[in-house]
Symmetry: C2
């Protein structure tokens, strides 16, 4: 012990957890995930094998070291909502929290992306993480849509659409090695979903396609203007 190996820290104390993540990724990138054993990781980090499983319940968890915190953040964010927030817009904002997690550390995110793309076990693990995000969004929407006809169906579908759009943009950004503007890409993708499902007006961000040649407007005389505008946005998009 006290062999401060692999700790390029200034004089700081990198709390072992970080050291384990660093050691793990060095080995994963060098020789691959499956070719790296937990023993290899703890040897490089200079700690005991048992300590690894103290910090990470499984070998896969070391690849996603901060999703647990992010999930908690998202749940807190949604719990802090009130009815003044348009529900679909709110879950889109919640999804942006996840983007923030990736964007605040682009090189790490890109490395991890390459890893998860190649290793089936990591893909499966990532799916279970994404699923928990999606469930959080869906539960929030279910509560907001409670009592509405087909409310839970609508909630599940919108949550899935939001996650799919978010991941579409996120993965496009990751494939470009984190070079582009992640925020803009995600905004565009979420705008597409918003234009389909959002129920109240907001900053004009409609993005529906107009591959069709017809848009239909039937309005009640007493309809609020924003509903008409929103439907037009939704149908015409910005195209």
């Amino acid at each position: 012990m006290s062999s401060t190996s692999a700790a390029p820290g200034r004089g700081e104390k990198p709390p072992m957890r970080d050291a384990l993540v660093a050691a793990a990724f060095r080995l994963f990138l060098e020789r691959g995930y499956e070719q790296t054993t937990v023993d290899d990781i703890v040897a490089l980090a200079g700690v005991g094998r048992r300590s690894f499983f103290r910090y990470f319940p499984s070998k896969e968890d070391v690849v996603f070291p901060d999703h647990e915190r992010c999930l908690a953040d998202m749940e807190a964010f949604l719990a802090a909502s009130d009815d003044s927030h348009e529900p679909v817009r709110r879950v889109c904002d919640a999804a942006r929290l996840v983007l923030g997690l990736y964007a605040e550390n682009p090189t790490f995110s890109v490395q991890r992306y390459r890893l998860t793309k190649r290793v089936p076990g990591l893909r499966a693990y990532e799916l279970s993480v994404v699923w928990r995000y999606e469930r959080a969004l869906a539960e929030y929407l279910r509560a907001r849509f409670a009592g509405r006809r087909e409310g839970t169906l609508r909630a599940d579908v919108i949550a899935a659409a939001v996650v799919a759009a978010h991941n579409n943009a996120l993965r496009s950004w990751l494939r470009s090695d984190g070079k582009g503007d992640a925020g803009a890409e995600v905004d565009r993708a979420l705008g597409y979903v918003l234009s389909t499902y959002a129920e109240a007006p907001g900053p004009a961000r409609a993005a529906a396609e107009t591959d069709g040649d017809v848009v239909v407007v039937v309005s009640r005389r007493d309809a609020p203007l924003w509903r008409i505008v929103q439907e037009l946005e939704s149908l015409l998009g910005r195209g």
Copy 2:
């Protein structure tokens, strides 16, 4: 090949694979998934431990014994499409293939549902299966939407929506112990997605909500009637 089973024949020869599934489920239901070891299963089935892994790459696979076949069916179904099929309608029909797999054996499906609900490892495995279905649908839609603006985004979002709607109905049916009409529930749920995304008319099955108080119709003079009808269906639903 030549696995002509699917019926627990009287004096038929249940080809070991089926025996393993039966033994596994007996033990899983008796004492739980994690409390059952592969050795327990092969002991009950009266076969060698090595044979288990010949038929199932992992312990989890024995819980989903026929999804591999179903996925192949779905891919074949989509590959057999031509451009006369409206794309969104086509992927909805593909999703119904999965429903068929569940519906043809309700008690088994319900048992498995209860199992996967309780065991995190099985949930994760199921997610990876569902993900492969979703990818198959998305790839098909991407090809159909190729060249269109935001085509891949639209494809991914619709695939996710279809899967979410399908699972919403399927799980509702499973929660009811397979008592209701699975086909009708899935039709209703997929109808909701169709009403949002389908681009060509079909058997009237629109199901969008009309919680709003306004519907907008703007039409070009030369728009085909079906487009107008479809938009109206989409916006007014059957409510």
